[in-house]
Amino acid sequence: MGVNGNGARRVTIEGLWQRFGKQEALAGIDLDVGRGVFGLLGPNGAGKTTLLRTLATTIEPTEGALRLLGFDPHNPRERRELRRHLGYLPQALGFYPNFTVFEFVEYFALLKEMPVDSVRPAVASAIERVGLGEQATKKLKTLSGGMLRRVGIAQAIVNDPDLLLLDEPTAGLDPEQRVSFRAMLREHGSHAIVIVSTHLIEDVAAACNDVGLLEAGKLVFRGTPAELIDRGGGDDAGDSPLERGYTRVLQEARA
């Protein structure tokens, strides 16, 4: 579906800096991600949300080169085309209280310039996929937090995006919902680039084939979950091998 030439199926980041006034939220990120599920780990303040916002094109880089699905987001026309193939779930989504589930997802499907005849069935399909079929005509103000999160996921996947960006998507989901969510992630990862930012290690272990660890705006680890596990040792803090690897890498980065 309409992606652009070379690097059509990749996200390529070179020397990305994001400075807000004196603060350096991202300090020189180099990253190349292809199809599959990429997990972005890191403590609060590490820059995960800033990175996702940059990839979602809601903020411009202070410095650095980006190539997303083969498009250059600096170019307005390419940015618009890129956004048609993008799915984004921000950390704090916000919602329109008087819209129904259907209307909310449909609104963003329309703003993504989906072909108009495909919009309504796609919206219905997305709502079914996140298990909100029974709530489709209910107003958002009547839904629970977990349901609202799922509405957010629905709008992100409605256009079957080639690049899916999810910022802390499992917040508010119960364990059963998290399991089916991870299955959905894997399914998307089989034909798209999925980048998930999370601080829940189990999310990473279960769904991601590729992991990055951000600390203080720098990428301090890039590899598979197995490789992250290998970095950890018996005396590192953590309840699981992955957690131990995580703490060890963080420690080394801060030293």
């Binding site: 079929g133 029974e134 489709a136 005509t137």
Partner: protein
């Protein structure tokens, strides 16, 4: 909830009831349609059928089984689909007048049965063809044959017996 309660709920605008009806009935209806139509046609017809169920649930008379009522709608939608896509009429089994729950009347070779009734152009055969194969309303059939609607009905009754006998090879008791 039983089917009758579900239809009532659908008539009141409850879309979750429609969903439940779909869960229960869509599969067997689709399989039945599939006997005489390709898969993509089946999907289109199924969609139109349930949208028609949504819109006309209020008109369900309460008589007869809900599933059979929906099947009636599906047959009409299949005929409409065939007409508007210029495809041959699907040879679906007879509905309203023949007992569709009867084992003996399954996927039927209507053409063969028609031939058994009379030669081409024979009025009885035309009558059956227009009413059962093309799902035309009785007034239209009456106009076409140049006879009053009342006459159509009584002729249909007589012809039905003949047809059923022809279809079941004389095995079914009438």
């Amino acid at each position: 909830m039983d089917d009758t309660a579900l239809i009532q709920a659908v008539a009141d605008g409850d879309h979750t009831a429609l969903r439940e009806l779909f869960e229960r009935h869509a599969s067997w209806l689709a399989v039945r349609l599939r006997r005489n139509m390709p898969p993509d046609a089946v999907e289109d017809v199924m969609q139109e059928t349930f949208i028609a169920v949504w819109k006309s649930a209020g008109r369900y008379s309460g008589e007869g089984v809900v599933g059979a009522w929906i099947w009636g709608i599906a047959r009409r939608q299949a005929a409409m689909w065939a007409r508007s896509n210029n495809r041959p009429m699907p040879l679906l089994e007879l509905a309203a007048s023949v007992d569709i729950e009867s084992e003996a009347v399954r996927a039927v070779d209507l053409a063969t049965a028609l031939a058994a009734i009379g030669p081409a152009g024979d009025e009885q055969r035309e009558l059956i063809r227009m009413v059962y194969m093309e799902d035309r309303p009785l007034n239209e059939v009456a106009d076409h044959l140049g006879i009053p609607a009342g006459t159509v009905k009584s002729r249909l009754f007589k012809t039905r017996r003949l047809l059923k006998s022809a279809l079941t090879g004389g095995k079914e008791e009438l």
